[in-house]
Amino acid sequence: MHMADALISPAVGGTMWVVSAGMIAHASRRLRKTLDESHIPLMGVMGAFIFAAQMINFTIPGTGSSGHLGGGLLLAILLGPDAAFLAIASVLFVQALFFADGGLLALGCNIFNLGLFPCYLAYPLVYRPLAGKNTGARQVWTASVVAAVLGLQAGALGVVFETVMSGISELSFKAFASLMLPIHLAIGVVEGMVTATVVSVVRHAHPEILRHGSGERLAGSSYRRVLAGLLIAAALTGGALAWFASAHPDGLEWAVSGITGREEIEAPKGGVHAELAAVQENVAILPDYGFATANSDGEAKTEEAAWPAVSAGTTVSGIVGGVLTLIVIALSGWVVKRRSETRKVAAG
């Protein structure tokens, strides 16, 4: 569920960059205070371990598909939230640079979705209280599954929210959320089970690692600060969400209210169903959709925002100019390459 640069706007990407960079600075500062440098190689190797673990797939029982470990929660259990957050952030950093998984601008979003939620939400607020101190196997299982599910749901919601706020994709909040959340529910359950098993393997072999990792690092005051930060974030999210929902009623709801003459049709459940139905309807009539139906569908949309009108004339000149631009670019690339090659030959 990596976000890609192509789907986000600079405002969303920039905001999330600032938030994630702030979190990295915060985590680093706290680590510097509490940590001896023996932990730094451990963090690096653990990050590399997450990479290696993600390369191995497992089959999800009952389905033909396969999945792999996300690892945020596992790292938080092993290293504590701050070190785990930094390790996950650097895994995402390397993925963005070398694997082109997610993008540089989307990196802030990805660190937020995949790092902050498991490390600062799922682990301290769900896993720790549920697993308790004298951890029995069943407690670890329950705690891991619940924490993994919640962490992934929050992350998936983050992806949906950031995508919709950016407005590059046409997917509406409800439609995208109703696609993403159920999928990540299943992934979360498996992630939790795998995490619990790995934790119990480690506990049998090296119990001291777990004591070392998740010790007394979360002092009371900072615990509360994290909680307060999350509450503020939740309030902001809710506020922005309400604004978004009211400012852009989607086409179908608009049409329905026009037909029934009623203004309040937004029972949240009905909204999700209506939206899903709209998606289904659109996809189902796809093979033989004519432009007439497209127009009737489109009419509702023109109400909410007027797009810059593009006439056919400017489109043609845009295409011609575009082709010429690309030719010029290709030529300049060729020239640069030739020059650097001849220089190399001259030097050698």
Binding site: D5, P10, E37, A87, L104, E170, Y289, W307, V310
Partner: protein
């Protein structure tokens, strides 16, 4: 699995290209990082229906690839490998947004197709810029630049360590997986139970390795910082590089160059 091995091999290739010695390689990592970030912000700041104005931005990756000797085939392959997510979300646009915005000759084009094309172009531009940054700078250079621009040292150091041990642990994982599939039928991936056992073993080995690494590093005087052998400094060429590209991005962002060129011919 073999796909992943190829994937990892290509990271090694990227590393080798990053060790090259061209004009682009010799630039200060900071100037390349800043230029790349300006480029990405410029590209993604366009409205969702913008297609033609994005095209001049291809000049940056094309020139950078040509000047640094980055093979176009490698860039293309990497683009293809990571394309699915962006395309999957983007391909819904033509189905959801069917308002006719324009026409190419007799064929009407809906807003959804325009915004989908725009997403594809954005994707190609931003991903290739990121790959070119790392392919001409290397992970050490990027980390150096980030640290100079304010990234915490703890983060930078463990990022470099992660990168160093990535290949070692990946090899270990691949070996483990290969041994397991050599002893089982039908080539299917293991179930979650066995998977967790394998991952657990890998984890224990990784931890043991981390302890060995730390001891070895302590013996050699590790004090929490990496020291680079190659001195990098900001020269006039870095300022020029950054200014020229920043100027180009600004012009290309504010003026639709292809439309102007096109209107000269189409009148």
């Amino acid at each position: 699995m073999s796909n992943l091995e190829v994937h990892f091999h290509e990271i090694g290739v990227l590393d080798r290209i990053a060790a090259g010695d061209t004009f682009v390689h010799r630039l200060d990592p900071r100037s390349k990082l800043l230029a790349t970030l300006l480029f990405i912000v410029g590209v993604v700041s366009f409205g969702k229906y913008e297609v033609s104005a994005l095209l001049p931005f291809f000049l940056y990756p094309v020139v950078m690839a040509a000047a640094s000797g980055m093979p176009a085939g490698l860039l293309g392959r990497k683009l293809l490998i990571v394309a699915p997510f962006a395309l999957l979300v983007g391909i819904l646009n033509p189905f959801l947004d069917r308002e006719i915005l324009t026409a190419i000759g007799p064929v009407p084009v809906s807003g959804g197709w325009i915004s989908f094309t725009s997403i594809v172009f954005r994707f190609m531009l931003t991903v290739s810029a990121a790959l070119l940054l790392v392919g001409t700078t290397g992970i050490h250079g990027v980390c150096f630049a980030c640290e100079k621009l304010g990234m915490p040292r703890v983060f930078a150091v463990q990022l470099l360590l992660l990168y160093r041990y990535l290949f070692v642990l990946a090899d270990e994982g691949i070996r483990m997986f290969r041994a397991r599939s050599a002893r089982s039928f039908s080539g299917r991936a293991p179930g979650p139970g066995l998977y967790a056992q394998m991952i657990g073993t890998l984890l224990l080995r990784a931890i043991a390795r981390a302890q060995r690494i730390y001891l070895a590093m302590s013996c050699r005087g590790f004090d929490g910082a990496f020291r680079s052998r190659t001195p990098v400094g900001w020269h006039v060429r870095d300022t020029a590089f950054l200014l020229v590209w920043a100027a180009f991005f600004t012009v290309a962002r504010c003026v639709n160059i292809p439309e102007i060129i096109g209107s000269m011919f189409v009148q």
